[in-house]
Amino acid sequence: MDYFLSEEQLMIKELCAQIAQEKVIPVRAELDEKEEFPWEIMKVMASSDLFGLFIPEEYGGLGKGSFELTIAVEELSKACLGVSTTYAANALGTYPILLFGTGEQKKKYLPDIAAGKRLVAFGLTEANAGSDAGGTRTTARLEGDHYVINGTKQWITNGGEAEIYTVIAITDRSKGPRGASAFIVEKGTPGFSFGKKEKKMGIRASATRELVFEDCRVPKENLISKEGMGFLVAMKTLDSSRVGVGAQGVGVAQGAFDEAVKFARQRVQFGHPVIGFQAIQHMIADMATEIEAARALVYAAARYADSGAKDVTKVSSMAKLFATDVAMRVTTNSVQVMGGSGYMREYPVEKMMRDAKILQIYEGTNQIQRNVIAQNIIKEAAKAK
Amino acid sequence: MSLKIDKTKCMGCGACITVCPYDAIVIEEGVARIGEYCQLCQACLSSCPEGAIMERKEDQAAVPSEDLASWRGVWVFAEQREGRVAPVAFELLGEGRKLASARGTELSAVLFGASRNDAAELVKWGADKVYYCGDDIFRGFADEPNAELLSRLISKHKPEVVLAGATAIGRSFLPRVAARLKTGLTADCTSLDIETDTGNLIQTRPAYGGNIMASILSPRTRPQMATVRPKVMKTGRYETGRHGEIIDIDAAGIKARTRVLETIKATESGVNVNLQEADVIISGGRGLKGKEGFEMLKELARLLNGTVGASRAAVDEGWIPYCHQVGQTGKTVCPKLYIACGISGAVQHLVGMQSSDVIVAINKNPEAPIFSAATYGLVGDLNEVVPLLIKKLRERKGGQ
C-alpha cells in the first residue's frame, strides 16, 4: 500500500533497504550463531548518516522525526531484529538527552551520537524493577560536585558496547517515584563496570549486559533535567521509543512473510506448489492483512507523535502492542507455512520467530501496554463526563 | 546509421517498446516513432512482428576498396611472460593459418622479449615469418613499449588481421594499438571466420554476461584486430622441419612510463590453481553453503589430481578467492572432466566451461539449468553425494 512517503522518506527507506540487503542479510545468521555484536554494520550506518536521523540539524543530525525513524527501523527489522534492536536502543538511550538535556549536555553529546561515533544505551530495568518502576534500588547521592551512584541495572541493551549511558537512579527515596532522577554516565567512569553478556533466545547479535555501579562518581552537570524528574524522563522516553518497537514488529513480520511466500511458491507437494492449497492461502491472506493493519497503525502513531501531540502514550502503546503481537503470530505462522524447512536454521524464519518474542516483552510487556491503554481510556472517559 | 520505422508496415503493437532498454520508442498516431534517446542498439529490430523497423547505414562514409586491399597477411602477437611464450600463441598460429589459407596470404608472428630460439619455435608452430625484438625493455610487461612497437610494425607492413591472446597482457595493451591506429578491436573472441572475398574477419564473442553471442565486423578499417580466448582454438601442427624467416626488429627510441618493480607468482597451498591447464576441475557454487564445502571439493580434487573451480556466486560470497572463478568474468576452461557441484548453471557460468569434454552436474534441484549442459546429471544433496563419491573412488583406488 502507498503511504505517501515524501521524497526524503523514500530515500531513507531505499538506503536502509540497501544496507539490509547488502550488509545485514549476508551476515545475520553468522551474527546470531556467534552472538556477535554488529559493529561493522553500525559503522556502515554511521557513515550513511542514519544515527543522525532524529537529531536536530544544529547538532549535526538530519532533524527528522519519529516517522522517519520508524521507516528506518522497519527496513532493518525485515532483515535482522538483532541489528535493528542495537540501532533502536541507541535512539532509546538518546531520547533523555534530546528531550530533557541542557544546552550544554546536548552540545557535548549529540554531535558524537549523530555521527555514530559513540553508541548510547538506556538503563532503567533492575532485578526488582521492570514493569514496576517503583522497585528501583539504584541510588545517586550528591556529594559536593558529584553524584555517587550505587546499584545494578540489568538486561541493558547495548550494555558494554555503548559509551554513553542514560541511567535512572533514586535521589530521594522518601518521595517514592518522584524521588528518581536521570543521569548521563560515560563508559570508563571509575566505579562503573559491566556484568557478563546474557545468553538470549533471540536477538543474539544485540548485546545485553548488567551495568554495575559501585561508588561511581559522576559530575553534577550529568544530571538530566532536575532531581525528581527521573520517572518523567523515563516515561517520555518510552513514549517516544515505543512506536519504534512497533516498527520492529512490522519489519520482522514482513521479512518472515516474504520468505514464507517465496518458499510456498517453490515447494511442491502432491504435484502442486503448496501456495496453491487453500489452507496455505488463508494463512497467507491473514498474515498479509495483519501486517498491513499493524503498519497503518504504527505509521499513524508515529505521524501523530511528529505532529507535536502531547497525548501520545495511548496510541503508541496500541501500536507497540498490536504490531508486536502480529509479529509473533506472523513469524510463527511463517515457520508453519514452511514446515520442516521453516524449523531449520538453513532458512531465516526460525531466527525471526525466536527474535520476535522479545518484542512482546521489552520496553514494557504487552500486558503492561494493555494496562496503559486501559488507564488512558478510563482517564479520557472520566474527563468526558 | 539510423533506425527507421516503415509506417506502412507498423501496426502500433508496441512490441518494440518493451524491448527498448532506453525508452526511446513511442507510439504516435498508431505508429511507432524512434526518438532521440535511441542508442542504435538494434534490440528492436528482431522484436517487430511486421519487420517494420529498418536499419539505414547510408550516412557512413564509403571506404575505397583498394585502400583495404593494400593490407595483406595475418599476424599473431605471441606474448611471453618471463621469457616463456604463452601457449595461446600456438593456438593463435593454428587459427591464423586457417585464416591465412582462406585469404591465400602469409602468416606471421610477432615476438617481443624471450629469445631468438623461441622465435624459431614459432616457425615450427606454423609462422612463415617472425618479427622478433629481444630488447630488454620487454623483460617485465609494460603496455606502452608493446603498443608502440607493434603499432610501428603494423603501420609499416600493413597486415589485414592481427590476433592476440585475450589474456591480462593482450587485453591490456592491444586497445592502445587500436586507439593509436584508429582501427577496430574485438575483445575476447571465441570463434573467428573470414569472408574470402572481402577479407572481413567475422569475430564472434559472448556479451551480456554470456547471455548472447555477437558477431562483429570491422568492414571499413584495417588491420582487423581481435583478442582470442585461450584454450578455445586448437594449436596448429608442430613441425620441426618447417622453415621460416626471422626478422630482427630494433626498439630504438621506445620508452615505458610504467615500471615493473616486482613479480609475484600465484601459489596456493596444496591445490594447483592453474585452471586453464587442468585436466580435471571440481567446481563449487552457492549450493556448497560456505567455505567448508570447498574443503570437501579440495579433497575430491586431490583424489582426482584436479583443481578446484568456483562459480561467481561462491566467489562473491567470499568462500574462495577470485583466481578459482570459472565463467564469463572468470576463466574459460576446457578440462577433460568438469564436475559442477551445487552450481545452478547460469549462462555466465556455462560459457566458461561448456566446452569441457565431459561435464558432470551434481545438484539437488532437478530443474537446475546446469543439467542441460551436463553429460551426466546426478540429482542429490552434495553433502551425501560428494563424500560417497570420495569413499567409492578411494575403495576402487585401494582395490587396484
Binding site: - | 534517446y37 534490440a43 591480462a168 595493451f173 592502445r176 551480456y208 609475484i264 549462462v347 558432470v360 553429460t375
Partner: protein, 260 residues
Amino acid sequence: MKIAVCIKQVPDTAEVRINRETGTLIREGVPSIINPYDTHAIEAALSIREMLGGTVCAVTMGPPQAEASLREAISLGVDEAFLVTGREFAGADTLATACALSGVIKKIGADLIICGKQAIDGDTAQVGPEVAEFLDIPHVSYVKKIIEVNAESIKVERMMDDGSDIVEAGLPALITVVRELNTPRLPSLKGKMNAKKAEIKKMGAAELGLPPEVVGFNGSPTQVKKIFTPGPRGGRKQLEGPLEEQIDALINELLEKKCL
C-alpha cells in the same frame, strides 16, 4: 589531486533473461545500475581523496537516462559529474566511446583517471586503455591493490594470469580496477539529498570540439553483424536409482571415457 572516474550505466546482466524463441534479450523490468566494476573505481577515487585531498569527478557517456548513475555517484561522495550525451554519440563502439570520454577528460583535466576493469554488458575491457592512449598517458590494467599514491606517482599491484606485478607509473596516469581492490561504500543520506539537487554538466560533441566522424556510429570501426544465443548441449544422461547405484554408474561411465 584531481581524479576522474569513468563510469557506465548498464543493465543488471544478472537479471537479463533470454527469449528462447526470438533469441533476443528480455530487458523489460531489468534495472539499470552503475557497472559494478566502476563502483570499485569510485571507491578507490574517494579513498584517495580522503588521503590526499582534492576532487573527484565522474564522467559517463550515454543517453539522458545515464544521469541517474551520475547522481548515484554523487550520493557516494563524488564532487562533480559530467554527462556526454547527444544523438551523435549513439551506436559508439569502444574506440568512439574512448574518444568521447577522453574529450571530456581533456576539458576538465585530471591527474589520475580510474576506470572499472570492464563493463558487465560488453565485457570488452578496452575503453580504459584506449582512453589512456587518446590522452597519451600511461595506464595500468587490472589493479587489485593501490600500494602508494602521491602527487607525482602511483604504485599498484596489477593482476596477471599467473599472479601479479607491482607496477609504478608517473602521473598523470590511468588505472583500471578489479573487484578485489576494495569494498564500495554505500551512499549516505546527506549524499543522497545532495545528489537530488546537484547539477549534472551535459556536453555534446560540439562542446568537446569533436568532429562528427570520430564519435558515435560514424567513429566506430566495429559493427555488430548479428546477435544470437548460444545453443544448448546435447547428449545428456540423467543418472537414476538409489544414490549409491548412481555413483557407481557414474564412476563406471567416467572410467569408460578415460576421465579418471
